[in-house]
Symmetry: C2
């Protein structure tokens, strides 16, 4: 191992071309590949920016050539040499520096490397855990490194846009108060105050509202948030939000500002010229047509409601569901009439994962509707279905019959699966959709009370206020979600700024006055002291970056992601701590110590 | 309470002037002050940007005038009206909008306000806790709001500068591993893994080094860090760092890049043209001349070492100290010879706070050295002291005699106190100083072992490597701190990138191989797999902003600071949690439950 000595890097490995011929240059980086050819050693030298071929020729400098013989993959070197044109047959047009090479006159070996546990320059099958354990090696792969570079650029673009729009980035606390409404908190025991705990924020919701009461007018923050939930493939215990809040504002103005931000982002990262305004759809329409509040509108396969058409029909399964207040909906899988028995079994199995207890189907033929269930329907019913579904010979009709919730869950997922099977989703199209007019509350069967669809600070539709006491589930909110290709990438609302209204909503949520005071007293108090009308929105950065970079997992756009079991194989966090640390925090183990 | 209706804000309260005469405008904000004069109501309307006078004149619109009678302090209103020139005697040149007023034609009361618990427009004495409890009211005061606006601007300036210098902002985890080296960690119990804990990061040190091993080359992050320490006035449990790391780099290059950043920052925030390079001083020189590694170089009052001069002198107190290996140093408080007995008692008491067991002094008179201790010194000793201290009639000499540590602690603080008393510190001068060549290790009497002065990953001076085993305390490090007016605002170092060297340093720290593996195994492993030479630095944002804004406390530059007892009076964090939450985390109380 040598020091850099007097060498100072003059260029990156993506910078040199024919303009630099005969210039002296010093590059530093990693040995990506080594080839020995006719007594000459060729090294592909890699840094964050790219790759440059450096050449050790015994005729130029025999001592340096001899030294280069030691070099192995991932060794770290500094080379000083002269930029030369490559022989014509050796040019590599795929490489920015592919027209030149460096004839090396000085080599310093800055560090050696043991053989990496997996090769970096091939897309070999390596377990995710091993990749995360050696995350620094995986990050050397340009396709992963690129994601972090794009993430950096994206967030700086967002900042520039928001700064230009008079927003202030203001930091809110990480050590804050546990508020049981919402997901499970990560807790941080207090050492100074025995029996008391901080919570890591699930979002800076209350603080950003307080900042509006404080007169900050336009706030944003790109900020870590935390949820101690059981992890799904696309969730992380800590995640990053672009969080915004604005005063003296309406839905329309927020939507316009956000559309400008998204446009700037896609221009910068994808060089795409989006054309706002984006489409909009009410929650009711989204549920009716797509069975989900985040429809992927890049393709059709819409849901058709057959409940009224089939009320009293001869098919007992449907009839029972309808009698019990459930619904029957269907998707016309255009041109899928030739699906095999196995295809249908697969789809049925798939539907089963989302709660379907079987799946009825009909193949539309020229002369008949082929299906085990056709016989149960009258000719009128078949005609009415055909019309509602625009059924043509060669089509396949798939049914969902259950409670509305299950039907929507099953058919919305089946719709996505069909689109994947039929190749209806084109890789590079970005369909944005605002979903609006969400219900304010939904009834939670487990808790036997209404809960907030977004959060308890969302403003209700003012025209429906009287319903809050008589039919709470019917009240719409002033919330809006931004959906991209079937993914919710952002969500927000106009907030309640009247203390009276806030108390009414708490009441509708079954949060009685004392409890509301205990949990949210400081917000209620703030609303009494001159709170302006305000609203905001928050975006999930990880998912947004996944979509922007075309990655398949959010882990690919996070420098140090955790596993699905919420561990970090690199640092082996979480880990045991000294018993003394627990004692200082006034805690005892409630687990079996080994 | 009314909605905004069709009104949309067209201007801010700091925007309108004579250029806008007769234009229609809509403003929204808070009632700062109301004056009724000749049947006309004048409101100072305040928003984040400034203040505009709005006028309700019964002759313009009697209904609106009548409505305005309700308005009270801190009510939130929207007004639509016409820009008019103020009568000449009513102009207010102190206000950006002081030449105009708005003749209001439409008023909407967007929210009322109860009487605030303290008035906002006067600098009244209010307890800190009450101010933090109603932080949103305090933040409405322009002098506090201004700090948050400047903080925003400062951090965006830093980002722009670092982006332009090829840095990537990369987020590192908040839920990470407890590493007992360093301060006390905040712990986060894992629910999924019983008996395991995450720790909140004290700094992203290891992750940023890993990012260098990953080839990211230049990293930065403006990031929250956490230390569960007993709080001093200028500490917070969570604090923000500007954190940087660079590969293939030397101290000189890092210093140059940082100086550019600081220059950009002071230009943007203070409109000052700093002239790097900043002065530099070795640690040894700083300790010798100022008794501290973060000297305030805005004034003199340097420490003079009299140990050799007074070795074997007749003053027993000094002699004993010197015999025991301690030192005697003195400050010449120029022109303070007229200090009263009380002044001297005060200074002695002050010195006592920092460990002094008394304080010897001498007043230099024209004909004699007036002091209870003069009689113990020979004429030669007095002459030598006079020369070393450049003592002139009218001066006051203050002595420190103890271990080096105590003498430096006492005299460096006494020096600051003298400067304050003598008004030597001018408000608006910014003295930057790089302190370099720190010791790598210091002996910890409590732990009976060497500990790292910075952290265990700091590179030693390569020329002194052989001392690491024979005289570890003599080895200097490649660390550098940036000091501003006596405050350490940043610190960093070149890091160790050789696994062998890292193991040697761990050994010198008494961290034996197994423990090193357990704690830092992943770093050692990363160093074996192609780690580039690298180094970095981190800046404390809160302190930097305190100095930049001329605030007296870091709390004034933080949106939601905690008290000295690490509580948040606004949200009442930390708080009790449900017993069920503890059980889920596999923990039991070790405190007395009420």
């Amino acid at each position: 191992m040598e020091s850099m000595g007097a060498l100072r890097r003059t260029h990156t490995c993506n910078e040199l071309g024919l303009d630099f011929l005969d210039q002296e240059t010093t590059l530093m980086g990693w040995v990506l590949r080594r080839r020995d050819h006719g007594g000459v050693i060729f090294i592909d030298l890699r840094d964050r920016w790219g790759i440059t071929q450096v050449v050790f020729n015994p005729e130029i400098n025999p001592a340096v050539h001899a030294k280069a013989h030691q070099l192995r993959s991932e060794w770290v070197i500094a080379v000083r040499g002269r930029v030369a044109k490559r022989p014509e047959s050796m040019e590599n047009p795929k490489l920015a520096t592919g027209a030149i090479e460096i004839l090396v006159d000085e080599l310093r070996i800055l560090n050696t490397s043991e053989t990496p546990p997996f090769p970096l320059d091939e897309d070999v099958e390596v377990s995710d855990t091993l990749r995360l354990q050696y995350r620094y090696l995986d990050l050397r792969r340009p396709e992963i490194a690129k994601n972090l570079i794009l993430r950096h650029q994206a967030l700086q673009t967002v900042r520039t846009y928001l700064n230009d729009n008079q927003f202030l980035e203001i930091e809110t606390p990480m050590l804050t108060r546990s508020t049981p409404e919402g997901a499970r908190d990560y807790l941080v025991p207090s050492r100074v105050h025995a029996g008391k705990f901080f919570a890591l924020p699930q979002s800076p919701q209350l603080f950003k509202q307080i900042l509006m009461v404080a007169g900050m007018d336009r706030y944003y923050q790109i900020v870590k948030c935390f949820r101690d939930e059981d992890l799904r493939a696309d969730r992380q215990p800590e995640f990053t939000q672009i969080d915004m809040e604005l005063s003296f504002i309406t839905e329309e103005e927020i939507i316009t500002i956000v559309e400008g931000m998204i446009k700037a982002l896609f221009k910068e990262i994808r060089d795409l010229d989006l054309q706002p305004p984006f489409n909009r759809m009410t929650y009711d329409e989204a549920m009716r047509r797509f069975g989900t509040d985040r429809p992927d509108t890049r393709f059709g396969l819409e849901l058709v409601d057959l409940t009224e058409t089939l009320r009293g029909c001869g098919f007992k399964v449907f009839n029972t569901v309808i009698d019990k207040g459930g619904m029957v909906k269907a998707i016309n899988a255009k041109g899928c009439g030739a699906f095999s028995r196995k295809d249908l079994d697969d789809l049925t199995e798939y539907a089963g994962r989302f709660g379907a207890r079987g799946m009825a189907w009909i193949k539309v033929k020229e002369d008949e509707w082929q299906s085990p269930i056709t016989k149960f329907f009258t000719e009128d019913e078949i005609k009415a279905m055909a019309q509602a579904l625009d059924a043509q010979p060669g089509d396949l009709i798939l049914f969902g019959a259950d409670t509305a919730k299950t039907v929507h869950q099953v058919l919305s997922e089946l719709r996505l699966e069909l689109a994947r099977r039929l190749g209806l989703i084109q890789g590079d199209s970005f369909n944005f959709l605002w979903v609006t007019d969400f219900p304010l509350l939904e009834y939670d069967e487990e808790q036997k009370r209404y809960t907030a669809v977004h959060h308890p600070f969302t403003a209700p539709n003012e025209a429906q206020l009287e319903l809050l006491e008589t039919d709470p589930g019917a009240v719409k909110s002033r919330a809006y979600d931004l959906v991209l290709n079937g993914n919710e990438i952002g969500g927000g609302s106009i907030r309640i700024h009247s203390p009276l209204m806030q108390k009414k909503v708490f009441k509708a949520l079954g949060i009685e006055t004392e409890e509301a005071q205990e949990k949210f007293g400081f917000l209620l108090r703030a609303l009494e002291l001159g709170a302006p009308p305000h609203g905001g929105i928050a975006f999930g950065v990880d998912r947004l970056m996944m979509l922007l970079t075309g990655s398949t997992s959010i882990r690919d756009v996070i420098a140090f992601p955790k596993t699905q079991k919420a561990t970090c194989p690199l640092t082996e966090a979480p880990s045991s701590v000294a018993r003394k640390q627990l004692t200082e925090l006034h805690l005892q183990p409630d687990w079996k110590e080994k």
